[in-house]
């Protein structure tokens, strides 16, 4: 099918790299056996998985044995957060996280609150960043786990993982990082970064959907209780037949990403600069997040006096998001933007442009023009109606 849309929603999901697709096809043909099977065919599947573990391990600079395969970052977040909180619950029940985390994090903490854990919900600064000092102040004697995301999915805001992680180490607090938007896009060296648990999902960096991983540091006290029960696969931490083809796809996507993180970054920076240049002149437009320090693949803007849903339709066939994809179906303004103190009116007009490897200058320039025109038309429609 020919594409009749302009895709600027790479933060929601990316297309699969053709090499990854081909690798998965090869895997399926030769390695369709169950990787738990103790025969030649099973060993082919297992070898594919081992190679993928090495590829992902190289990207993150970890031992392949520290990686647990999951169905995506949602499951990784659940396993990392609920699993570690329960594993450490005999030591204490206080947990710390951020109001602007992804739902796959916030909803796990909400569930844990119902189960007797106590959660401190930190509010970031107005530009979305968490002050490490504010984080440190939230820690208590009984704090066992903190979860802070790397790159925010709505605004691209990047947290100071190194500083926050160091504070966690000092206080013997396990540190989980939702890196769904960061892996394959920003350099992550887990030998250097003080992170204990890290969640990722392949479809955000040109790998397949339905596969992710949780990194569990090989450190004393760092362990998770399983949240799914079944066969003895994956050190009894996560059961179920491993999808060797998807895992191989994730591995190759990691291998492809590694050497090009810098060039990808420069490419995105150029695109975001052009996009912003094309819309920053609009009266009443403002950036959600922080354009200097944020991840350059995302530009989130609000605009005064424009209704968000109409703006989105008027932008068609440019595919962008309002809030994050996970909330797009609900009409409510983003809880993330409200946590930053945006008014409901400004939050509901927010549009997230997110760019990727295949995005061209032409596409972002077209998007900027369409955005300008859309704002102008909708303001015109409303003019005299404005009270």
């Amino acid at each position: 099918m020919a594409q009749d849309f302009i895709y600027l929603d790479y933060a929601a999901s990316t297309p699969v790299d053709p090499r990854v697709a081909e690798c998965m096809r090869d895997c399926r043909e030769s390695g369709y056996a169950n990787p738990s099977s103790n025969h030649i065919a099973g060993r082919v599947s297992r070898a594919n998985i081992e190679r993928a573990a090495e590829q992902l391990a190289a990207l993150l600079n970890v031992d392949p044995a520290t990686l647990i395969w999951t169905s995506g970052a949602t499951e990784s977040d659940n396993l990392g957060i609920a699993g570690a909180a329960r594993f450490r619950s005999h030591r204490g029940k206080h947990l710390v996280t951020l109001l602007t985390e992804h739902k796959a994090v916030t909803d796990v903490f909400r569930m844990l609150e119902k189960q007797g854990f106590e959660v401190t919900w930190l509010k970031p600064e107005d530009d979305g960043r968490l002050d490490p000092a504010a984080f440190a102040a939230a820690l208590r004697k009984d704090t066992q786990l903190a979860s802070i995301m790397y790159v925010n999915n709505e605004m691209g805001v990047m947290q100071d993982i190194e500083a926050i992680g160091s504070i966690c180490r000092e206080h013997d607090v396990l540190f989980h990082v939702d890196a769904a938007q960061a892996v394959g896009k920003v350099p992550i060296d887990l030998q250097a970064l003080p992170v204990d648990l890290l969640s990722l999902t392949a479809h955000k960096f040109y790998g397949p959907k339905g596969i992710g991983a949780l990194y569990i540091a090989d450190r004393p006290g760092c362990h998770v209780e399983p949240i799914l029960f079944g066969g003895g696969q994956q050190q009894r931490i996560r059961p179920g037949t491993l999808p060797a083809d998807l895992i191989a796809g994730l591995g190759l996507a990691a291998e492809i990403a590694q050497p090009r993180i810098d060039t990808d970054h420069d490419h995105l920076k150029n695109l975001r600069r052009r996009l912003w240049a094309g819309i920053q002149g609009i009266e009443g437009v403002l950036v959600n997040g922080n354009i200097e320090s944020g991840f350059p693949g995302i530009l989130n803007v609000s605009v005064e006096d424009v209704e968000g849903e109409s703006l989105l339709l008027e932008l068609e066939p440019i595919c962008v998001a309002t809030g994050s994809a996970c909330n797009s179906k609900s009409q409510e303004p983003s809880y993330v933007l409200r946590a930053l103190g945006r008014s409901d009116l400004l939050a509901q007009s927010a549009i997230r442009f997110s760019m990727g490897r295949p995005t061209t200058e032409h596409e972002v320039e077209l998007a900027a023009r369409r955005y300008r025109e859309a704002v102008a038309r909708l303001r015109d429609l409303a003019t005299a109606a404005a009270p």
Binding site: E307, S310, L313, Q331, D380, L381, A382, A384, A385, A386
Partner: protein
């Protein structure tokens, strides 16, 4: 596509808002409710509605509903406005039920426009 949130008619009226605007010397109502801002203006000639225009701040369904209303009631007798029903629009434009409130805002605006035109009597 099966689950397009906008029916073809909504798309058509949203894309082509020929009746957006104001009319000189018209009767007008402004309404600001439920996060929707509307202005309807009408001119009448011999008891019939000559022209209708709208301004709107709202979601695509609201904008399309305004355009639909204007294009359907030009030329109709002024009294017809009092019979205007949100449910007609809901149905014709396939507006999702959760947006009923917004279309009722338009119904309010139309009815009060009808009263302002003098033709309408409160039911």
């Amino acid at each position: 596509m099966s689950d397009d949130p906008y029916s073809p008619l909504v798309r058509k009226h949203f894309a082509n808002t020929a009746h957006c605007g104001d009319l000189a010397g018209a009767v007008a109502v402004n309404i600001d409710e439920q996060g929707i801002r509307l202005r309807l203006s009408a001119t009448v000639n011999m008891g019939h509605i000559q022209s209708l225009r709208f301004r709107a701040w709202g979601c695509p369904h609201v904008i399309a509903a305004c355009e639909w209303f204007c294009s359907h009631y030009e030329g109709e007798p002024g009294e017809s406005l009092s019979g205007f029903q949100a449910s007609d629009i809901m149905c014709n434009l396939s507006v999702p039920v959760e947006k009923t409130g917004r279309i009722l805002v338009l119904e309010d605006a139309v009815r009060s426009l009808g009263q302002r035109l003098g033709g309408g009597s409160a039911p």
